[in-house]
Amino acid sequence: MVTTDQRWLAVQAGPVRGLLVVASLAGLFAAWITIAQAGFLAAIVHGLLVDDLQRQQLLLWFSLLLAGIPLRSLCIAAKDYAGLRAALQVRGVVRKNLADHLMTLGPVGLAAVGTGRATSTLLEQVDALEGYYARFLPQMRLAILIPLSVLAVVFWLDWLAALLLLFAAPLIPLFMALVGMGAASVHRGQFLALERLSAFFLDRLQGLETLRHLGRGEDTIHALATNADHYRRRTMAVLRVAFLSSAVLEFFSSVAIAMTAIYIGLGLLGYLTLGPAEQLTLFSGLFILLLAPEVFAPLRELAQHYHDRAAALGAAAGIRELLGTPSPAVPRHGRAHPSGKAPTITLTAVTAGYGADTAPALQDIFITFPAGRTTLITGPSGSGKSTLLLLILGMLDHRQGEVLVDGRPLRDLAAGSLEATIGWLGQTPRLLPGTVADNIRLGRPTASAEDVETAAANAGVLRFTDALPDGLDTPLGERGSGISGGEAQRVALARVLLRDPPLLVLDEPTASLDPESRRILLDALERQCRDRTLIIATHQPAQMPWADHHVELKGGRIRGTGDG
């Protein structure tokens, strides 16, 4: 039964097929050398014990045995290394594809997926593929090829012994299936239990302060312990059965070796007269005995790597799901560019929503945002204000109707061209690692230092950076740590002012601002941006008395419009 996840894993192996073949071949060569060396060793013992030869007369065999050592070891090391190379190559490609896809999902798509899930897929799940390509895939071929090679040699030496080994391992594929089933249920039992325990643990860790404050610290510790105990009992019940399958393999391989040893012994004594038993010599007997464990060793190793496969299948499911999440943004294949002047944005009969099976967040919207005017969008939370802005930004595609920029549909614009003419401020500004100046310069990378400083002054950034020893060159931590929310919003404003775009889209820009930051922001908008096309979603229209138009939304529909 080949699932789509298995197929996906197989497709990813395509570009590294060469390396995987090298790994398998190296493993096979190592096995062949092992077989030869077993022969040399048996010949030495036979020569000494049966033919009464001196050590000097056996130097050929001793040298051959010695010569095989570096070769065999080299092959084993090469197998591991080639497998790892293959795995790392697959990892790089998959991670790049995922990263590209995450970026195209945009804010709407990422919000639906969740940043936590997106990063854990990008990091942990991609890492979880390693063992499958590095160890499991090469070993899967070896688990068939090596036992067959060994059995062929044993068959040539003594077909009855080969039959004994075959009898103990009736059919190698059957064994593999058995091992696979056992390992799969071990995986289900153990790994899923661990995963759930980890999820519970993480959930409680993230709210640890709250639990402590509520006086639930000890209770939670108790819950953690009982939860773990509960999973332990349940999982061990599964594992007791699951381990049996590998115990069966272990048992049969042990018994096969024992039976072979006893068969050979009785044959050598002459107690057995059936089949080829009478032709057994110490050479062939010892040779077979040395080879017997090699029939089962590759299978045992495969069983050990089975959890690599299960982990990779789990990861493949997560990765495929994420890669298969369509981007909710407007697909943009056109070549047109916006004029660069303040645009008129028109929505005609637009219906839009998140996810195919949910109710539309906006329905049957007709609005025009005139060029160079300020329009406020008001309405209770959940009325569709943010959705409307996302439509204009092209980050959410509409289901019906048209979104037009100066009469041209969004999808006809070249990728990135609309973005280059937009200034955007959200409720929570996001800053990038780098200095304050770097973050402002993002608005216009070619801007001069004076322009950056002017923008910083106009946005009130200098008011707090002047107190810092490095001023605008103060480095910010990851995600802008080190400054307050209000200060971050001023940096974001400076970025917009530096870009000086013809279209500004603002989503409740003052919602979590202190009065000073709010005053600076509103002043800057009124003084410097009023000749742009300005679209602002807000709960507090009174803060912007200079706005030209009002649109009121309710329940995803336009409830009213007005001027002034």
């Binding site: 014990l49 990422l110 709250t210 773990a228 005995l289 209770p380 937009i422 200034g423």
Partner: protein, 559 residues
């Protein structure tokens, strides 16, 4: 190494399990050794006897006892292996629970600032992976090493009983290569393992930060550049991983070669001994197969020790997180819990780090029992810091804070927490039912009381509409609720907690005006007999209050 030792000691509390597991591992190894060695002896003995018989000679060879021995070892190996897996998995599950409990307990005493830093950027995810990695320490590193050492010594000892010369060579070759390779892999692996860990956290930080800023990156055309930065880190990570892989391959080469070399040496020396009549033929065959079994024993050592290098970083990170003295320690001789909810701040100054401007400077504040006040002020002026001082999550740099007339420094943090019900800015909910989430604050609240508080936060209609009502399951962080609903559920929980002092940090953030109004009006019912300190942005979005203060430039001003 001190970090690893610390965790080993934690594991040693489960010594009966570890002992049983290790003993079973040794039994498996011994049975394998016995199976191969006895088979080798048996075949050579029967071979020689067969030749003698065929030549017409007379001899008796007991074939039953060796045969039974072979079968015994064969079955014993399978059974011991099964038992070993069961026991070791039991042990892992137990240690896992211990480790999580230990970690939770260790974080429980951390101060708020360090916890917030951990939560930010999904660091906790990384940490849980570190905790998982610690499971390997015993099963995959210490256990196999112990078994290898004991097995090797016992095996070489067994060989020495028959042929000291062979034992000398085999012991020398195996022990020296194992020691050298294992230590070399362990030591050389330290740097790449560190690189691997560092690039992994860097990539996580970058990915989390950039994905949160995706709208900005799109608009400012910076996606390509950030993607390239990610892939650069990824390449560095792959490079470190490959380096570890090369070291592992080298170790595999060395171990495999040394095992074979030992076998060769045993054959060569053994041949000489046999020729000199010092050992019999069957014993020679037995020793050769015994050496083969010994070599197998050492194979997993280098990878175990490479793992050790990686586990080390996990151990160090975990210890670094949990170590250090808390910013606020409990007093040695605590005063009894405060009897009322008077709050006094005298000359309090506080800043996050030395060198930064003061958040609060020489602040005085006195709140009477049952008084309700609000504190307004620009963001970043220290309103939330003030609350964390009151909660004793942080300590003021100067001045004193008294709760119910008792200096906070003389109170246990637990008693402070009992006296206060706090709604932090960040909404925190847990996976569990709606009722579970509420009862965290008040375990013996009955259903009518839960409905009552839900009604006050305007969630009653919503919860009624849910399929299982109060027993509806919420996913992690209250998945299934909108931001505003989650906020109100957290507020409901805060109101339920029977504490005389209530601290609300922007309780109606993210609510629309109508809901906000209803919630603010309803607050009164739940605040009877309690003291309230409320933090807000807007003067016109407040419930009825006794006093409104403004925090500006680190000081209070009355409005």
């Amino acid at each position: 190494m001190a970090d690893l030792w610390y965790f080993l000691r934690l594991y040693l509390r489960r010594w009966p399990w570890l002992l049983a597991g290790t003993a079973l591992m040794l039994t498996t190894v011994a049975a394998n050794f016995g199976l191969l060695a006895l088979s080798g002896w048996f075949i050579a003995a029967t071979g020689l006897a067969g030749l003698l018989l065929a030549a017409g000679g007379a001899m008796t060879l007991d074939i039953y006892r060796p045969g039974a021995g072979i079968r015994f070892f064969a079955v014993g190996r399978a059974v011991a292996r099964y038992g070993e897996r069961l026991v070791n998995h039991e042990a892992v599950f137990r240690m896992l629970a211990d480790l999580r409990v230990w970690f939770f307990r260790a974080l429980l005493v951390l101060d708020a600032g360090r916890l917030a830093a951990l939560r930010d950027g999904e660091l906790l995810n990384r940490i849980t992976a570190d905790v998982d990695a610690m499971d390997h320490l015993f099963l995959r590193v210490v256990g196999p090493t112990l078994v290898a050492i004991i097995g090797l010594l016992a095996g070489v000892g067994f060989v020495a009983l028959w042929a000291p010369d062979v034992a000398l060579w085999v012991g020398l070759i195996l022990i020296i290569t194992a020691l050298f390779t294992t230590l070399a892999t362990g030591v050389r692996g330290i740097m790449p393992a560190r690189r691997l860990a560092e690039t992994a956290s860097l990539l996580r930080e970058r990915a989390v930060g950039d994905l949160q800023a995706i709208a900005e990156l799109r608009i400012y055309g910076a996606m390509e550049e950030r993607l390239n930065a990610w892939m650069d880190i990824d390449r560095q990570q792959a490079h470190a991983r490959l380096k570890l892989g090369r070291q592992a391959a080298f170790a595999t080469f060395a171990m495999s070669a040394s095992g074979q070399l030992a076998l060769w040496a045993a054959a060569f020396t053994g041949a000489g001994l046999y020729a000199g009549g010092r050992i019999s033929g069957p014993v020679l065959a037995m020793l050769l197969l015994a050496v083969l079994a010994l070599a197998e024993l050492l194979a997993p050592l280098p990878s175990a020790w490479q793992l050790l290098a990686r586990v080390r970083w996990s151990a160090a990170r975990l210890r670094a997180l949990t170590g250090g003295s808390p910013a606020v320690a409990d007093p040695e001789q605590p005063e009894p819990p405060p009897r009322d909810a008077r709050v006094e701040l005298a000359n309090v100054s506080f800043r996050h780090r030395t060198g930064q401007p003061w958040c609060l400077q020489d602040v005085d504040l006195s709140v009477r029992v049952e008084e309700r006040i609000a504190i307004l002020g620009p963001s970043g002026t220290g309103k939330s810091s003030l609350l964390s001082l009151l909660l004793r999550q942080r300590a003021p740099d100067r001045g004193a804070i008294r709760l119910g007339g008792v200096d906070l420094r003389h109170l246990r943090r637990e008693d402070v927490d009992t006296a206060i019900s706090h709604l932090p800015q960040r909404t925190v909910l847990f996976s569990g039912t709606v009722a579970d989430n509420l009862r965290l604050a008040c375990p013996d609240a009955d259903d009518p009381r839960l409905w009552n508080v839900l009604q006050s936060v305007a969630l009653d209609a919503f919860v009624e509409s849910l399929p299982d009502g109060l027993d509806t399951w919420l996913g992690q962080h209250g998945a299934g609720l909108s931001g505003g609903q989650a906020r109100r559920l957290a507020l409901a929980r805060t109101l339920l907690k029977p504490a005389p002092l209530v601290l609300l940090d922007e309780p109606t953030e993210g609510l629309d005006r109508a809901t906000e109004k209803r919630v603010l009006t309803e607050l009164d019912r739940w605040l009877v007999g309690r003291t309230l300190i409320l933090i807000a942005h807007d003067r016109d979005r407040l419930p009825p209050l006794d006093r409104v203060l403004r925090l500006e430039d680190g000081r209070f001003r009355r409005i």
